[in-house]
């Protein structure tokens, strides 16, 4: 079977959009797609160690006043956290997470170890665009 490739520009640092991204990545992993995720500006904050693991530290992108209800509903439905989705997808398929160097610096992260252990490397915009050119599916979240 021909390998299909997905490329995601992950701009968001919001828990609702990160959860959606986690579901999308899981679906791609289930189909054995190769997934490259480029973590941009706000996204890099969620990937900072000591921040993104705890949803209390993350905003909501939409229906911002309903964060508590949203988080409770996810819990009631036994939905994984966004970090768990990303982690599991990485275990299931060829999913690589690249942190944009500039974005990392904005949130005080210079080195790979400043970010959650999900991150594979720190890169620049050239890598993102090169991957986007080759991908069968391009998403910007």
């Amino acid at each position: 079977m021909e390998e299909k490739k997905m490329c995601i520009g992950l701009f968001t640092g919001s828990v609702d959009k990160l959860t959606a991204a986690g579901v999308v990545i899981s679906g791609a992993a289930a189909l054995d797609m190769k997934v490259d995720i480029y973590v941009l500006l706000q996204g890099a904050r969620a990937f900072r160690k000591g921040i993104g693991e705890n949803a209390d530290n993350l905003p909501m992108a939409e229906n911002t006043s309903m964060k508590e209800e949203f988080m409770q509903a996810l819990k009631n439905l036994n939905v994984k956290t966004w970090v768990e989705f990303f982690r599991e997808a990485r275990e299931l398929a060829d999913v690589k997470i690249h942190i944009c160097g500039l974005a990392g610096k904005i949130w005080g992260g210079e080195k790979l170890e400043d970010f959650l252990d999900l991150a594979d490397d720190i890169c620049g915009i050239g890598a993102y665009i090169a991957s986007a050119q080759e991908a069968d599916v391009n998403l910007f979240i």
Binding site: M1, V23, S26, L31, D32, N78, V79, E88, L92
Partner: protein, 83 residues
């Protein structure tokens, strides 16, 4: 296969994903398919309405044979053969 045939089929693997919402059942299926042999039959139990559309599509994409779905009370049993 007919629902009657599916009810009597013997499965090599049963994946109970009733406690999870989408994409849980699909991920459970993906993980379990690696543990069975080509030609083996697997059933996925899901209480998520979307799974009965998801799994057949996933089978088509992955090359597995979708055998059919049986509706039980409050959940679905979805059958497939690994290729």
């Amino acid at each position: 296969m007919t629902p009657e045939e599916l009810k009597n089929i013997s499965v090599a693997k049963s994946v109970d994903a009733r406690g999870t919402a989408c994409p849980g059942p699909l991920l459970e299926a993906k993980k379990a398919i690696g543990t069975i042999s080509t030609g083996d039959i697997m059933e996925v139990l899901s209480a998520d309405e979307g799974t009965k559309v998801d799994i057949p599509k996933w089978c088509t994409k992955q090359g597995h044979e979708y055998l059919g779905t049986v509706e039980e009370s409050g959940y679905y049993k979805i059958f497939l053969r690994k290729k």
